[in-house]
Amino acid sequence: MRAGGPHELLGGVFDRDLCIGCGACVSLCPYFKSYKGKTSMLFPCTRSEGRCFAYCPKIEVDLDDISRAMFGEPYAADSLGRYRSVHIARAGKNVGSGTFQAGGTVSGLVMHALKTGSIDAAVLTGRNGLNPVPAVVTDINEVAKHATSTYTAAPTIAMFNRASQEGYERIGIVVTPCQALALAQIRRNPTNEKNYKDRSALVVGLFCTWSLDYRKFRTLIAEHVGVAAVRKFDLPPPPAEIMEVHTDNGIIEIPLPQVRERVPHSCDYCFDMTAEFADVSVGVLEGRTDMNTLIIRTERGEKAVEEAVRDGYITLGELPAENLDHLRAAAGNKKMRAFKKANDEGLINTPPDKNALFRIPKETIKRI
């Protein structure tokens, strides 16, 4: 893989408006800071190689390399990425009641892992108003507070970096697909750090079609309702074309096109709807807002699910074939749109002297 430094990160990601604010480059050094969904570089750094560049999910992402490091296989020609099994799932009886975005599967998995000690901390993303705020959670009772979708891009990986520095050894983390990709980069120690240790123990990915720019989203919401009154957001399935804003005084509907205008430019290049580099990926089950779709991708993901089922923290069911087809089609559409856009703009598989957004064998694209 190509190494690079902050200068190339600025040119290749920030200047192209590709930064999604995942926080992979944050909390490693004094230069990159995240605030209100945006990552900024405070001062110039002169290093020609750095972790900021190596961890970033928006520059020189070699999908075969990453996939080999994680799954022992090249990048899958499958719109859902590499996986072992797909299920429907929901929180089990031992989770208790709470406000979940959907079925509570994520909370169930995280609570169980904390309870059994298979993770010693969970990096979760809560909300302060509309501002997504990542946090390190070690108390099982705190998990539910972070169990709602934020919809705005969050620097969750910055909190993972900080939790690693603070000495947590087995970190569970709930991430969006771009954050999962960043984490996959981090986990293969691309800068060959001495004494590197993979401190992630369970990566739970969330399905994602796009996120929102915090400041723009806040302005939009403020046009409709006092931000303080917002409890949660929801996107009812098509053909609704609205965003539901659940407030203290009932539900407000905002036309989806207005919301989509606030989607960061970077999301247009995202080829991953289902968090392909997580241990397990979770999304809302089509047609059933109280249930989740669950994709198990790795051995340790499989183990986490099995044990959570065994101990009553989640329950599983069989995903109807029709649902899987729809999911695959939606993920495939996103993937193809992103590949086409990136390819049209010359951001894929660039010559070695020019930084690519990502690298993927042409053959694989064809097969997808």
Binding site: C29, K33, Y35, L42, R47, G50
Partner: protein, 645 residues
């Protein structure tokens, strides 16, 4: 024995130009002195304050130059002699009042000393306040050396009383801050009775009310004063000529430039070919004197700093006299012989004179000059203009810079006048983007803050020191609050007029003479105007940045007072709060995760890069012990412990 009180007439002292001016004022029996500090003028008031008890003076640091002139003027029309001092751009501040003082006239001698800074060694402008003399019809004097500075000051009071007009006297850095021998004169018994007579006839200059109205008769009287001044100046001993009766070249010069002219003529051995007419009375020019010397030659060179003030005024006279004295060849600023920026020096004069007189002379061998230049660039260490070790401004700008960078909406800082003006440089992390006159930071920011309707959504901050706040920022802040302008006003309160030497200001509890005075609280002023006021200690990096980030989300005029005393203040200097050290084993240095943040970016002079060990270290000799670097170190390698004492 101090020169302030020495009554031994004829005793000789080595005095700075400003000290000579002080002695001249004391010999004139001055009773009141007022000023706003500004380099190179500040020592005048400081030294008059030292003499205040012995000589029964009232001396004050006024809130700004306009008020200073008003204070001195009051003494004048109450029959006392008064002196008012300021730097060049201070005259701009005082100029509105100056226009009216000229018109109303004065009683006791009133002298305005303006010390100018050609080359802007300690200024952010190269302003020329001589033009105010001409514009406002006020006599102008320019001493040429240290003895003259003393003698001319004393005479200026007599002149002022003879004309019943304020008199301006211009010094420059190389006179105010250089030293020379001065023979002192007699110290009089100062006048002690002040009384303002106002019951006489309207236009009576000694007993009537002091007004500028009715304007036409006052203006006619003023112009009569200027005509009379020109007559007096015809015989002034401060206009001197040295050289042959009919020189090939006549240099007309004034102020410190007269010394450079003498040196240049001497270096070229051109004494027999060149005459030097040194003018001490540069406005109005004495026409007969000028006619006499213009008649003696056909070639004239003007040597003055900065703009061609004297040059153009002489040329007006020369054109009026042309039918009698003939056509002259002029060299000076307008033809490019003498630069119109920066200070002059003997080298510049040598170049000009040798060209005009076709003298073959090499001041410096070019090969030697080239060699010297290469040595200087290769061997002299880089010395940035920077803040002192432990300076609160470094921490303040660090916080502001980081908050604006994190906020990521292209916010910026409008700057003002003080040490913190360096905020536009790397030592202030290039945070400051505008800098103009005193108080203009908040004024400009106020204007920016009203541009939201034109799509401007950049956060706007203004920074201002505590002394500048009182000087000229308050009206602009009133404007910002009144118009609901979206600005953050950051008061960098370092507890004194630090840049010019800790002169007191209205926020301090003592005056120029060391007496207790009423202390004015900036926070209370801002609150009373309806602004929200918050405080932050800039050394508390995290809390200050949090405050800034929060304020950046709010609307309207917000005030944040960053309070931390100047590291050089008498209370703080030499006292370390913390012992600071670097654990070089932990220091990340040039590696990923730091890249020498402390020595490459933060750059307090107390932090040094240890090339041998590849780690930072503390220079214990100059470290002021503020401990801020311990807060910014990303790896915790910089340690601070409470200093033992």
């Amino acid at each position: 024995m101090s020169y302030h009180t020495d009554t031994n007439e004829g005793a000789e002292y080595l005095l700075m130009g400003n000290d000579a001016i002080v002695r001249g004022a004391l010999e004139a029996g001055v009773s009141v002195a007022s000023a706003y500090p500004g380099t190179p003028s500040s020592e005048i008031i400081e030294n008059l304050a030292k003499a205040s008890a012995d000589r029964n003076l009232y001396v004050e640091w006024s809130v700004n130059e306009k008020v200073a002139l008003e204070v001195s003027f009051a003494a004048s029309i109450a029959g006392l002699r008064a002196i008012c001092a300021m730097k060049q751009n201070g005259v701009n501040v005082a100029s509105d009042f100056l226009l009216h003082v000229a018109l109303s006239g004065t009683r006791g001698g009133l002298v305005l000393v303006h010390c100018e800074d050609p080359g802007a060694l300690s200024s952010i402008n190269e302003g020329e306040s001589r033009h105010f003399a001409k514009m406002n019809e006020v006599p102008l004097l320019e001493p040429g050396d240290f003895q003259e500075a003393k003698d001319m000051t004393k005479w200026a009071f007599d002149l002022s009383e003879e004309l019943r007009s304020i008199v301006m006297m211009r010094s420059v850095t190389r006179l105010s801050h250089a030293s020379g021998n001065v023979k002192i004169g007699r110290l009089p018994v100062p006048k002690t009775r002040a009384f303002f007579s106002y019951s006489g006839p309207m236009l009576d200059p000694e007993t009537g009310p002091v007004l500028t109205m009715p304007v036409p008769p006052h203006h006619a009287l003023l112009q009569e004063k200027i005509r009379k001044a020109a007559e007096i100046f015809e015989d002034s001993p401060f206009n001197t000529y040295t050289g042959p009766a009919r020189p090939e070249l006549m240099i007309i010069t004034c102020s410190a430039c007269s010394l450079y002219c003498r040196e240049a003529v001497h270096l070229l051995g051109a004494e027999k070919r060149t005459g030097i007419l040194k003018l001490g009375t540069t406005w109005p020019l004495p026409p007969k004197l000028i006619r006499k010397y213009l008649s003696s030659t056909d070639t004239i060179l003007f040597a003055e700093e900065v703009l061609p003030f004297m040059e153009e005024n002489v040329k007006v006279l020369a054109s009026e006299m042309a039918s009698d004295i003939g056509i002259k060849k002029f060299y000076g600023k307008n033809d490019g012989t003498i630069p119109m920026i920066n200070e002059l020096n003997p080298d510049i004069l040598v170049e000009a004179i040798k060209k005009i007189l076709s003298i073959d002379y090499t001041a410096v061998d070019p090969a030697y000059a080239a060699k010297a230049k290469s040595f200087v660039s290769s061997m002299a260490p880089v010395r940035d203009l920077t803040f002192c070790p432990g300076c609160p401004h470094r921490a303040s700008f660090w916080n502001i810079h980081n908050a604006l960078a994190m906020d990521a909406r292209s916010g910026f800082v409008c700057g003002d006048i003080g040490c913190y003006t360096l905020g536009f440089l790397p030592c202030g992390f290039n945070t400051m983007k505008t800098s103009h006159s005193m108080g203009s930071g908040i004024g400009i920011a106020c204007g920016f803050g009203k541009l939201t309707r034109f799509g401007m959504d950049q956060p706007i901050l203004a920074v201002c020191g505590d002394s500048t706040f009182f000087h000229a920022a308050i009206p602009a802040l009133v404007n910002a609050i009144h118009t609901k302008s979206d600005v953050i006003f950051v008061l960098l309160d370092n507890s004194g007029t630090a840049m010019t030497g800790f002169q007191p200001h209205p926020g301090t509890s003592f005056d120029a003479m060391g007496n207790g005075v009423i202390q004015i609280d900036p926070a209370a002023i801002c609150r009373s105007m309806g602004a929200t006021v918050e405080f932050a200690d800039p050394f508390d990096i995290e809390a200050t940045q949090d405050s800034l980030l929060r304020l950046l989300e709010e609307k309207g005029a917000r005030v944040l007072i960053m309070r931390q005393m100047c590291a050089l203040s008498p209370e703080k200097k030499g006292k370390k709060k913390y012992d600071v050290s670097v654990d070089q084993a932990i220091c990340v240095g040039e590696n990923c995760g730091c890249d020498r943040l402390c020595t490459r970016i933060f750059r307090c002079p107390g932090l040094v890069w240890d090339f041998e060990r590849g780690a930072a270290k503390i220079d214990d000799v100059i470290c002021a012990g503020c401990g801020v670097c311990a807060s910014i170190c990303p790896s915790g390698a910089i340690k601070k412990t409470e200093a033992s004492g």
